[in-house]
């Protein structure tokens, strides 16, 4: 059945359909609606779950560690500063291999204080050992959240489902809501293999002395790399059952494209519109959308971008003193390839600034120019930057 829901509501409905047993979260804009809806579901008796109220995000995720350790399907949600406050525990969750699912409504980081969208928050914690999935629309928020539980439980890794704040979190779209029985079939009750059980005491999260630490970190690396197969497998299984399959990346009219735009999140939708326009004029332009940012689909990106002359990476984050994170990862992916397209980086949409069709055209034009001349004039550019304000122009 299709319903008109916001991205936040889609995430909450997905968690309910997954029959989560424990929710521990702290409200923060623009994620708050998720935990409000879940609180209502529990209060109304629609969802049989423990709703743990806490005093901070640090505690929220800490409570999630405990509930995942006793084998309860566990969900939390946050944004921005909340994710930063969780950052210590993020590493604990992945290091302890606890299958927690979190929704992150992407919001920029302070300072300057901003409640609006960019992807700096989740990108900043890309090294925390969580799987990160980025959504283009509210349907993907629902689908990816349901899939996230199966990916998490079968990989023993926590999964973060990221979607753009306000652009998705507060915007209503028609979303196909699956039947409970169907979701039950897709997500059977699971059993955590190292259950914390007073009857059979074990120690969890013990110290990793120098003789062991490196081995545990290597196993985490292997697990996150291997989760690529699981993301594909679960995405296909979801497709067979619900008719909408997911993958690590999505290629949109890019197979024969000379110029490819690469991005993640809701910007993909806007770019698809532009691609259709370019194609209408006979320009060979395409889009590749990154759905899984961690594990990074390096091989898949090299395979699907390798034939292009130029790739423009548009992203709502940057690493001060370096480039955008997606761009630097992509550059790394091509490092030992015999041939690489020219790579251009466009920082855009920071702090909730709309990325206009004009800006997408500007990026495409620069990439086309590079494709034509074989030269990149400027590797990293900021779209929509008002140059007089920063002293670049008088």
């Amino acid at each position: 059945m299709k319903q008109l829901v916001t991205g936040d509501e889609a995430a909450a409905i997905a968690a309910k359909l997954a029959r989560v047993k424990v929710i521990s979260a702290y409200p923060i804009t623009p994620q708050t609606i998720i935990v409000e809806r879940l609180a209502e579901f529990v209060a109304n008796g629609e969802l049989d779950a423990e709703y743990i109220k806490v005093e901070s995000e640090h505690s929220a995720l800490s409570a999630c560690l405990g509930s995942a350790a006793v084998g309860a399907r566990t969900f939390t949600a946050t944004s921005s500063q909340g994710l930063m406050l969780m950052s210590e525990i993020l590493f604990v969750a992945s290091g302890m291999r606890l299958p927690i699912v979190m929704a992150n409504a992407n919001r920029s980081l302070s300072a300057p204080l901003s409640i609006w969208c960019d992807q700096q928050d989740s990108v900043a914690v890309r090294d925390c050992g969580w799987i990160q999935l980025y959504c283009e629309n509210n349907q993907e928020v629902l689908d990816s959240t349901i899939q996230a539980f199966r990916i998490a439980e079968e990989s023993l890794l926590p999964v973060m489902v990221c979607f753009d704040g306000y652009i998705l979190s507060h915007t209503a779209e028609p979303v196909e809501i699956p039947e409970q029985a169907e979701v039950d079939k897709f997500l059977p009750t699971y059993k955590y293999p190292y259950l914390l059980d007073p009857e059979k005491p074990i120690t969890m999260g013990a110290v990793g002395v120098p003789e062991y630490y490196e081995e545990f970190r290597y196993m985490l690396q292997e697990a996150v790399l291997k989760s690529k197969e699981k993301i594909i497998e679960v995405g296909q299984a979801f497709g067979r059952q619900f008719g909408r399959k997911s993958d690590l990346i999505e290629c949109y009219r890019s197979d024969d494209a000379d110029v490819i735009l690469l991005t993640m999140g809701s910007l993909s939708g806007s770019i698809k519109e532009m691609i259709d326009e370019y194609r209408g004029h006979g320009e060979r332009v395409g889009l590749v959308k990154v759905r899984a940012f961690r594990p990074f689909p390096a091989k898949e990106l090299v395979d699907s971008l390798g034939h292009a002359k130029a790739v423009a990476v548009l992203e709502k984050d940057f690493s001060p003193g370096s480039t955008g994170a997606l761009f630097s990862d992509l550059s790394g992916a091509f490092v030992n390839s015999r041939e690489s397209p020219l790579l251009l980086n466009f920082i855009c949409g920071l702090g909730g600034r709309d990325v206009s069709s004009l800006q997408i055209r500007e990026a495409t034009k620069a990439a086309m120019e590079a494709a034509k001349t074989g030269e990149v004039k400027k590797t990293v550019r900021w779209l929509g930057l008002r140059e007089t304000m920063v002293g670049l122009k008088p």
């Binding site: 999260g205 110290v207 062991y212 081995e215 545990f216 196993m219």
Partner: protein, 86 residues
């Protein structure tokens, strides 16, 4: 030996096998004449490496030498001496 995926110890009670006495640089020594057997040191010992009695008995296999017992003893029956001294 294949490790579990995280630092999970499946067999409980192994702290008994892990003798921590070698960590010590200062060693608590009980003056059996002064000790009144009140048990405060036993209560506060974080290990626990003290057996109650009059005088109390310290298990040097596990005592890390933190000195809480000496600090809390109301009759000053415990003194910390450098390891290697009598």
């Amino acid at each position: 030996m294949k490790l579990p995926p995280s630092t999970i110890i499946l067999k409980p009670g192994n702290s008994e096998q892990n003798e921590t006495g070698s960590w010590r640089s200062l060693k608590p020594v009980v003056d059996s004449k002064k000790c009144n057997g009140c048990g405060l040191c036993w209560l506060y010992c974080p290990e626990p490496a003290i057996t109650k009695g009059k005088p109390v008995v310290i298990d040097y296999r596990y005592c890390k030498g933190c000195g809480i017992c000496a600090n809390d003893c109301p009759v000053k029956a415990i003194v910390m001496v450098e390891e290697g001294q009598k």
